[in-house]
Symmetry: C2
Subunit: 116 residues, 2 copies
Amino acid sequence: MHNHDHSVALDCARAKLPKDETLCDLADLFKIFGDTTRMKILFSLFEQELCVREITELLNMTQSAISHQLKVLKDAKLISNRREGKTIVYFLADNHVRSIIGQGFEHLTEEDRCND
Amino acid sequence: MHNHDHSVALDCARAKLPKDETLCDLADLFKIFGDTTRMKILFSLFEQELCVREITELLNMTQSAISHQLKVLKDAKLISNRREGKTIVYFLADNHVRSIIGQGFEHLTEEDRCND
DNA sequence: CTTTCATATGAATGTTTGTTCATATATTAT
DNA sequence: ATAATATATGAACAAACATTCATATGAAAG
């Protein structure tokens, strides 16, 4: 009879697994990146800030849809905004956004060449 | 009257925006990370491989739920598996998984200290 | 202070998605 | 062959979510 209820690997994994709340926060963060519209907005803001109307025009969507997603991104602290006269200008909150997306990009592009 | 339908920033953003398909693929990739169960599975496999029963036991969920999520992760090429006798052993497909999650982790932990 | 322009927001709706339940497949042992 | 063990999978259901429509807020101009 084998040792079914007590493997070393299992104990090891259990010891190193972060607590539930952390894993949940992490999943919630990635969930934000997991939508095409939000991904487009983030990319739009990669190199310059834009106001809501510009983003709306760029993505060719309704202003409402854009505003809703901007709110999601802002709540997640991935973007910030400031008022400028009548318009509101949005911009990336920090460089983590760029590096996270960059890593994802790499994974996608390297999928073709390394498939041993 | 201001220049409403033609801003430099907008043109710049438009020129650099990747094509729709790429952005969609990227969002789909991050979507995979955007679920607590899948995040737990990925973390479980961070330092050692595990069979389905071990993962099921570790996460305290039904075997079916785990198998369904393992399939999602495998389809996304984030994990691979091999048969070993009666059991099937899963492991991380490559290091991108580790770096992507690592970046996310950093963003979370640094959220407290830099809030200017 | 009323109108206009830019953006935000609440409710409703259709779609996507994670889990469960029941069952199928595949390997090993009797 | 048959039973037992390990994993996979299809259908169903409930919960989460993105978009739309209608409307609210807020600044600026007349």
